[in-house]
Amino acid sequence: MRMGTLEQHYKKLWNWLDERVGLAEVEKLARKKEVPVHRHSVWYYLGGMTLFLFMIQVATGILLIFYYRPSAEEAFESVKFLMAEVEFGWLIRSIHSWAANLMIFTLFIHLFSVWLLKAYRPPREITWLSGIGLMGITMAFGFTGYLLPWNELAFFATQVGTEITGAIPVIGSFLLRVSRGGEEVTGATLTRFYGFHIAVLPALTTLLIGLHLFFVQKHGMSVPPSVEQATSSKRVMPFVPNFMLRDMVGWLAALAILAALAAYLPTELGQKADPFAPAPVGIKPEWYFMFMFKTLKYLPAHILGIEGEVIGILGFGVGGLFLLLVPFLDRRTARGEQSHLFTWLAIATIVFMIVLTYLGYTEVVTQ
């Protein structure tokens, strides 16, 4: 009897909401959504995991704003206060820092799995473009966020990073001044990076994630060509609740790894930045910039009369443009043929990144 009335109340609430929000349509959409099941299905989880880590970034980022002060005089002290005085301040900051790294890691895996499984083929080219845009934004998040504690390492990493933009021909010096908010890395740079980090980039990310998810929803999950051709019968599982629950297991795993890293390897603060002190020994960029940093180090001072650095930056620029245009350059995949060239290009990129990152971390710094 009681159950009956409870059910009636629930039904009434549902009907009330349905008339106003259109719940039935959402339910129909959710029921209709299916996820293909095949031997490469595991890669479907990485995008959602990246999104989950991004949501953690939003939540912890908002919490950090409550204590952070974006000025050269106060930034370091406010983070120190947060770490030492505020209850669980060290935990919130460590989670923010570790989730950032994990997010970039899962994003890279997502990117390369999509590349290798050729999920960018028509009609999903724009989904790929929005994804590459999100990668660029995420790296910009990392670069701007790294400076905010205003410590020695961050200061010089930003010095080097912004100096590199200055080497771009024609617009380099303009970009350098815009990114630094002046000629040098100063408090003005910090304020500017803060604005980018908490306002500009989140707004852009929200927009692009919205687009990205809309396209994923519109086209459904891509089935790799090899699977598509090999089997005629298509196995699927419903998104709600089967895939969603599996997704959440993935999120829980990510959360467990994140919690362990944040608790056992809390992020350090280091020394306060001093613009008039020499650069510390062993200065390194964040790991996801390491392969570029190391490549630039290997280039000779001059190649064919042009500065080596300029060649390197142009090279990475062309590489980025190539990555963006992969769906349009890979004509064979678009025609439904096998495209070994693009598979090997993806593998070569992965190997290049891993090897140079490894070399970057194992070099003897004093030589």
Binding site: G4, E7, L63, E85, V86, E87, F88, L91, I92
Partner: protein, 151 residues
């Protein structure tokens, strides 16, 4: 309405529901507790000094005038009565915490926010303030004015 078909294994279902609900609850608590503790600001390192030496020279305070000084993180007001005596009070109005000022035309202390009046002893004499201003002890040591909290 047709009766729900009873689950074939109600114990198992009940256990799983209980297990999921407690796990979700524990997880939620594990997130909400640190966040709520985090949001409560730690006690500020407020200056507890009971004495402050003012950056004002006694000769610079004319009779029938007053000025604001810093007492720790709070404002104080130093006045010289028309009779020539130096006095100091907490400058936070006892009504709603605005900072008071000395009115030479009225020869007493006044709060601009809600028209509160205090006499030269800091006593609330008109307007909404419910209590007198806290009085400090003023000592002149040669060229310096030293203000200290009473007791």
């Amino acid at each position: 309405m047709p009766e729900e078909v009873p689950s074939r294994n109600p114990n198992r279902r009940t256990f799983i529901n209980w297990f999921l609900a407690t796990s979700a609850g524990a997880f939620l608590l594990a997130v909400l507790y640190p966040v709520s503790r985090y949001l409560v600001p730690p006690p500020a390192g407020e200056s507890t000094a009971a004495t402050v030496t003012l950056p004002i020279k006694p000769v610079d305070v004319k009779p029938n005038s007053g000025q604001i000084f810093k007492f720790g993180s709070r404002p104080g007001i130093l006045i010289r009565t028309p009779a020539g005596e130096l006095r100091a009070f907490a400058a936070s109005c006892t009504h709603l915490n605005c900072t008071v000022q000395y009115r030479s035309d009225l020869s007493h202390i006044w709060c601009a926010c809600h028209n509160g009046h205090f006499d030269l002893n800091g006593k609330n004499i008109a307007g909404p303030p419910p209590r007198p201003l806290d009085q400090y002890i003023v000592n002149v040591r040669g060229d310096e004015i030293v203000v200290s909290k009473s007791a």
